[in-house]
Symmetry: C2
Subunit: 105 residues, 2 copies
């Protein structure tokens, strides 16, 4: 589906660090900013990009907002990579087959 935005979002190292921090479960913005080498507004901007890409979901809990990983976009990425993987292996096998035929005059 929209794997293009997901892969662009995961290209930034800071955004990958944010996603890695959410692997254990949902976290508010302040807890995410602590430990990251950037300011809290920067984290907020990254969270917007990740949420727009479908990688994250935000649930307002009173004063704060809990961000969690959404499996949907990850599934789209895996589908794209699986197709790329299959085609790469097929092209690799075809090339090896051609090379083997060149040894027989």
């Amino acid at each position: 589906m929209d794997y293009q935005n997901a892969i662009s979002a995961l290209a930034d190292p800071t955004r990958r660090a944010i996603v890695d921090r959410l692997r254990g479960g949902a976290l508010p913005v302040g807890a995410l900013a602590d430990g990251l080498p950037v300011s809290r507004p920067a984290v907020s901007q990254h969270l917007k990009v990740l949420a727009d890409a479908g990688l994250l979901t935000a649930t307002p809990i009173g004063n704060r907002r809990l961000y969690a990983i959404s499996p949907d976009a990850i599934a789209a990425l895996r589908t794209y990579l699986d197709g790329l993987w299959d085609d790469a292996l097929a092209a690799y096998a075809a090339a090896a087959h051609l090379e083997a035929n060149e040894e027989s005059p």
Copy 2:
């Protein structure tokens, strides 16, 4: 492994178009540049990025250079995404479990 460079390389739309064109098999630079909306030197620069990321292999055949998809970097990307997928599902299940417990006073 080196999945970080691979995901950064695939973030660019032109580079994804190049990889898609190589799904059927290896191609020289000129054939890749034809059909793409950028010039040949731009394609050459993208090929360098993709090759440095481990996504492509270059084999000189006489005057030209054949570029083909290398399955190795794709495997590293799939490993990363599989781990992310597992953690996302586990966190999702844990959150659902917590929510269910809040209905029992």
